[in-house]
């Protein structure tokens, strides 16, 4: 609906502006207002002259998180942009808050533009480890306490940060003179919306063609799997996560993981819930609603492999779930699989993992090995 409204409004704007402007500007501005982002809710990108106009919004209030003009460094900046927030492209020195950001730079071969990253202890990526060791990339600390002096010393032109509802990030921007660019990818509630943020890095590095190509491939693989599952005869039921201190924090029915369950031809037990955030639900409610669910998705953040025995020791209640009894627990070993770094740009693979579990008959012609979520095997 929002998208539709946006398209209508922008079309009206185009018509009005085309009518008013001189012939010279006409050709340019008529293609200008097409939103280049298809699946995202929190970012719009349109052409602006030889560059781009970017607007990042947020789910917490009506206010925009920021408006940015990306303009090629090789061209003179148009006068009207002199008072706007401008990022000259390709960007030269980037500080990236999140591994989901630098992994795109890495993938498109532009990692040399990244000078600083955060929380490098948490990655196992060999290439990044090497660059850190060679001091080509600096670790600038952790999100709650950035090492400001190191950041200043890197002379960043852009800092890609993770926006939260409360934390203003102006100070570091003022000190470094860098443009603070909010990377709201994690807020997107459609798996393809999340992945589409990789195009933003394409715009920033002037590699939009490669990035678009990459994204379009993701979309076509995702959509074809989804179409396959739309015709599934049976739709298994699924629920998610483990409790902590008796409380489950379930993904909301409108979250991106709920969307993936749906697209993989399954019914998420809380699909009718319309929240995008996680829901605190107590164990007895989960037991009463999800006891007969066919599948159970579980994230493992430890370095230890899960086992059915181990889960039963941890909480005897688990053993009453059908998914436990049927040995249909789907586990993702977060660290080993690089889930946080890579899965965002591989929604098609995430989807395929679930399709493989929910509807193995659909993939029987392939010898498929799941990448993130695998069915926990019984050791006995």
């Amino acid at each position: 609906m929002r998208k539709l409204l946006f398209v209508c409004v922008s079309m009206i704007c185009v018509l009005v502006s085309c009518g008013e402007k001189s012939n010279e500007a006409k050709n340019e501005s008529c293609t200008e207002n097409e939103n280049l982002m298809q699946y995202t809710s929190y970012i719009d990108v349109t052409h602006y002259k030889s560059g781009y106009y970017v607007n990042v919004s947020n789910p917490w209030n009506e206010k925009s998180l920021g408006e940015y003009y990306l303009y090629p460094d090789s061209l003179d900046l148009p006068d009207e942009l002199k008072n706007q927030v401008v990022i000259r492209t390709p960007v030269k020195n980037v500080v990236a808050y999140s591994s989901t950001q630098w992994s795109v730079f890495l993938e498109i071969g532009e990692i040399s533009r990244v000078k600083g990253i955060l929380e490098s202890d948490y990655t196992d990526n060999v290439e990044i480890k090497r660059l850190l060791a060679e001091k080509k990339i600096e670790d600038v600390g952790i999100e709650t306490s950035l090492n400001t002096e190191i950041v200043i010393n890197l002379h960043p032109d852009v800092i890609l940060y993770t926006p939260y509802s409360t934390v203003p990030k102006t100070e570091i921007g003022e000190l470094t003179g860098a443009v603070m660019f909010p990377f709201a990818d994690y807020l997107e509630n459609h798996p393809l919306g999340r992945a589409e943020w990789l195009k933003v890095i394409g715009f920033l590095t002037c590699r939009e063609d490669d990035a678009n190509q990459w994204f379009n491939n993701i979309v076509s693989r995702y959509e074809s799997l989804k179409t396959l599952c739309e015709n599934a005869e049976n739709r298994p039921t699924v629920f998610s996560d483990l409790p902590f201190e008796g409380q489950w924090y379930l993904p909301g029915g409108a979250s991106y993981i709920a969307q993936i369950f749906h697209d993989a031809g399954a019914d998420y037990i809380w699909k009718d819930n319309n929240s995008t955030a996680s829901l605190p639900v107590d164990a007895e409610t989960v037991l009463s609603k999800a006891r007969d669910a066919d599948f159970w998705r579980v994230m493992n953040s430890t370095n230890h492999k899960f086992s059915y025995e181990g889960l039963a020791v941890e909480n005897e209640l688990y053993t009453y779930f059908k998914a436990y009894k049927d040995r249909n627990i789907l586990v993702c070993d977060i660290r080993e699989s690089g889930y946080f770094e890579k899965s965002e740009y591989e929604p098609d693979i995430l989807l395929k993992d679930f399709v493989y579990a929910f509807h193995p008959e659909m993939l029987e012609n392939e010898d498929y090995t799941p990448k993130y979520f695998y069915r926990l095997k019984d050791e006995k």
Binding site: E119, D121, Y122, D124, I142, E143, T144, S145, D241, L242, P243, F244, E245, G246, Q247, L279, P280, V281, D282, A283, E284, T285, L287, S288, R291, M299, N300, S301, T302, N303, H304, F306, G310, L311, V313, E314, N315, E316, L317, Y320, I334, R335, Y339, F340
Partner: protein
């Protein structure tokens, strides 16, 4: 006359406790239809979800609440008598802070070591959390014991306990500052307290550990009564003050450590319940106060657990929020009445 008053009082508390216990079993987020109650009780059946909810989820939770309530309340009573301070509670010994630090180290540091946040709540983390809380609590307990065996002055001991609490708290804060937000979230949730962490599998160990501690307190009642007369008197009556205080701290700290390890730092019960007991029975005799405080503690935590899981919510309210919310007005009214 007085004896019958006491008997009626104790009986009343017990009956109230039984009612609360039964309500704990049959009231919760998932409604148990009235006509099904007896059906569920008659046939314990793993295939019936209701039966699993009642016997494998609510029953251990109610038992945990009951034991934790008794333990914390009586630990508070021991502290108040030992320090002759109506505001004393087990947290004054720094034991809860020690437990928090232990848990902080596990949740916040292992998060840092093992890479991804423990916050995805792997099964490993839950077992580690209880153990860490216990170790943290016991370490502080031994530090306090070392001080108390060298020191006669109880006020100094309170100050040392508070200082250790601050110290542990500040280390925890530093850890939090350098931690991932997911881990901090996990830590905050632990800090809110919960009676559902024990479950059927760990119930035997928990129950036996608590009951041993509770029984030990009964043997302390005579010495506690003597302490009330003042240290000079107590010494004249042949009581070894240092040895006595070491034992009291040991028992009280042990109870607090166990409860904190399994349920998180539950505030308020230890501070408030002894006051209610003293008010209700108008007595300072520990032979009465110890069982009375335990029973009142049980009623209180059962009641709070009931409120925390009120029907209509899908989630649990944090126990710590409920204990103070329910308990603070009770204590205020008790104090106001007794000071009139």
């Amino acid at each position: 006359m007085k004896n019958s008053r006491i008997t009626i009082g104790i009986l009343g508390i017990i009956i109230f406790g039984i009612i609360l216990f039964v309500l704990n079993l049959f009231v919760g987020s998932v409604m148990v239809p009235f006509e099904d109650i007896f059906k569920v009780l008659l046939e314990v059946n793993d295939d019936k979800t209701l039966s699993v909810i009642i016997f494998n989820y609510r029953l251990p939770q109610a038992l945990t609440a009951l034991l934790a309530g008794a333990a914390l309340a009586v630990a508070g009573l021991l502290m108040q008598t030992l320090f002759r301070n109506p505001l004393a509670d087990p947290s004054m010994l720094g034991i809860s802070s020690g437990a928090s630090l232990g848990v902080g180290i596990v949740i916040l540091l292992t998060g840092a070591i093992s890479g991804a946040a423990v916050s995805s709540f792997g099964w490993w983390s839950t077992i580690g959390v209880s153990l860490a809380a216990f170790i943290g609590a016991v370490v502080v307990l031994f530090i306090m014991l070392a001080f108390s065996s060298r020191m006669k002055n109880m006020t100094t001991l309170i100050i040392i306990g508070l200082m250790i609490a601050y110290l542990a708290g500040s280390i925890t804060d530093i850890l939090k500052f350098f931690s991932l937000k997911e881990d901090i979230h996990a830590f905050v949730i632990w800090g809110m307290g919960s009676f559902s962490g024990v479950g059927t599998s760990k119930m035997t160990v928990f129950a036996i550990s608590i009951i041993i501690g509770l029984i030990a307190t009964f043997f302390l009642s005579k010495n506690l009564n003597i302490l009330l007369l003042g240290e000079m008197y107590a010494e004249n009556l042949g009581l070894n003050i240092r040895k006595n205080s070491v034992i009291i701290i040991l028992v009280s700290g042990y109870l607090t450590a166990i409860v904190t390890a399994y349920c998180g730092p539950i505030a308020f019960v230890g501070l408030a319940m002894p006051h209610i007991a003293r008010f209700l029975f108008k007595s300072s005799d520990h032979r009465l106060l110890i069982p009375a405080t335990m029973l009142i503690g049980m009623d209180m935590t059962l009641f709070c657990n009931l409120i925390a899981r009120m029907p209509g919510f899908d989630g649990n309210l944090p126990i710590n929020a409920v204990t103070a919310f329910i308990g603070a007005p009770v204590v205020i009214s008790v104090i106001m009445k007794s000071k009139k």
